[in-house]
């Protein structure tokens, strides 16, 4: 290529920070996330909880389903750290087991809803016009469908299966995500850099995937962290109706519901699962906030 034409004056380049070599948006985001103390704390707390739920039941001397009627409804003690329920089952083991279900439902359903919602919303908004109108009316119709009826229909059609639960919840949660993403993309679509990308001759798919979607990560991540608890509660509701996890299996949502009924007599049956639930939500919120900031390259102060 030709020789340099008129070098940029020095005044223009003074002290530009952060010119280090970097690999990707994600690696940058990770580096920025590590600087956010609350996010790291959230991450650590959450990791400990998740590990405990995954690994804890193996270490526990008790089974989640073994009853010990002689030892029923005991408050927390050295033998049973979280106490026992009315049937004499170890509450700690049950909390950990329930955590598996809750976390799995929370994350898988959220992931499903994010994947569908983001792609659907972005496509709809980017396509615009009639396609957009049609796609969004479809969302409206699905919104209007009563959730429980939908789940019952699924259960009737495919039988009881915990995987169906993920599917059913994910299939409902993506609707809001799609709407949020659509709104964001509608405004992004008219931004100059998207038009510039069109001018470079990029295909619509490439523009949506590379230029539009990264720009909606912020709101999406924050909404996703809000979706996780919502999904866990939905699962509790379904389980309460007998459509979710079946006894003797349990989940945090179910335990909280049961615990709340016996709150006055056995408060520990409410407190522990509720505490786990809240701590999870808190840490997720901090992680979400941190991620939102970390994913925005403009927030890099280094």
């Amino acid at each position: 290529m030709a020789k340099p034409v008129q070098p940029e004056p020095q005044a223009d380049t003074h002290g530009q920070p952060g010119l280090r070599r970097r690999a990707s948006l994600w690696r940058d985001a990770w580096r920025r996330l590590r600087r956010n103390r609350m996010a790291v704390l959230g991450l650590v707390v959450f990791a400990v909880l998740a590990l405990a739920c995954v690994g804890g039941p193996w270490l526990s001397p008790y089974s989640y389903s073994a009853t010990d009627l002689a030892y029923g409804a005991q408050p927390p003690s050295l033998r049973h750290w979280f106490g026992t329920d009315a049937l004499g089952r170890d509450a700690l083991t049950r909390v950990l087991y329930g955590g598996r279900v809750s976390l799995a439902v929370g994350f898988l359903a959220t992931a499903v809803s994010m994947l569908i919602g983001v792609l659907y919303g972005a496509t709809s908004a980017y396509a615009g016009g009639r396609v957009d109108a049609f796609m969004m009316r479809a969302v409206d119709v699905l919104y209007a469908l009563p959730f429980t009826v939908f789940v019952i229909l699924l259960m009737v059609a495919f039988g009881h299966d915990i995987r169906l639960l993920f599917l059913a919840i994910g299939a409902v949660q993506w609707l809001t995500m799609a709407r949020i993403v659509r709104g964001q993309v509608l405004s992004l679509r008219r931004r100059e850099f998207v038009e510039a990308a069109v001018c470079l001759g990029l295909s619509p798919a490439r523009i949506v995937l590379r230029h539009v979607i990264p720009n909606v990560f912020g709101p999406v991540v924050v909404y996703a962290t809000l979706t996780v608890p919502a999904v866990m509660l939905l699962e509790a509701m379904l389980s309460f109706l007998g459509l979710g996890v079946q006894p003797p299996m349990s989940s945090w949502g179910v335990m909280i519901q049961e615990g709340a009924q016996k709150m006055e007599d056995y408060p520990w049956l409410l407190i522990y699962p509720a505490a786990c639930f809240s701590v999870t939500l808190f840490s997720l919120n901090f992680i979400g906030d941190g991620l939102r900031d970390a994913l925005d390259p403009r927030s890099a102060e280094d």
Partner: protein
Amino acid sequence: MPLLEVQDLTVRFHTRDGIVRAVEKVSFHLEPGETLGLVGESGSGKSVTCLSLLGLVPCPPGRVEQGRALFDGLDLLSCGERRLRGIRGRRIGMVFQDPMTALNPYLRIGTQLSEPLTCHGASRRREAWARAAAALTEVGIQDAERRLQCYPHQLSGGMRQRVVIAMALIAQPDVIIADEPTTALDVTVQAQILDLIRALQKARRTAMVLVTHNLGVVAGACDRVAVMYAGRVVETGSVTDVFRQGLHPYTQALCRALPRPGARGTDLYSIPGQPPRLTEACPGCPFAPRCPAATACCQEPVTLAEARTGHWTACVRTQRGEL
């Protein structure tokens, strides 16, 4: 044979308040290697003209109602999205007005810069990245390798505009459309950027359509100029002809309205009245209501006609030799 020939381009926006006639029967042509200035005030249809060439007029509400834009024998207005995509970036590049918004804040400079190369399948990533570095050097950015790793917000406005220019040029197009490339920059940087565009353009014999409302920019950077008013070309010709001996009363008024050194203390001339509302059909000369030389004949339909060699005007009275 002209590289780009636009004939009777008409673009309308169908809005709730009525039909906005943004561009009415605009015709111009562009020779290889030449620079055509499109001047006019805000709302005169300069940008819409450019956008419609690349199929970027938002539809709805906009619609190209009529006209042809022949580029290398292909009509850009009717060739369809797929073929247009092959032309965008590779054959016709576009420089946007505001470098602050024309770059994606989430992508590195290098990624954005190499995109026109990788997406047309012209080259592989590493090769594209190398060419991106070369392109940055070419637009006068030092330390290109390192700059490729930057995000747009880490660069200054002038540098970003250099990146935008490099992006438009990287696939070596035959035509660049520059939509007010210097408006968002401060004056000293403006001059640098204009010089840069001119130099690159000369080196490669790239033709350019330069949209601006700055007559000084046109005088300094263009070979020919088309003056637009209310969605129409009212005068076109070489820069010297149009500015020295403007034929259309609007062009003359525009030149009078320029501030002049040495004219201190006197009021700046301004054209009385307002530009017409584009929602109302205007069969005659759109400038007639504000024109000091207007007569009854200005209400009749008028087309661009060659008054002198290579110098066209859409003023009936000039065409008749009355002015």
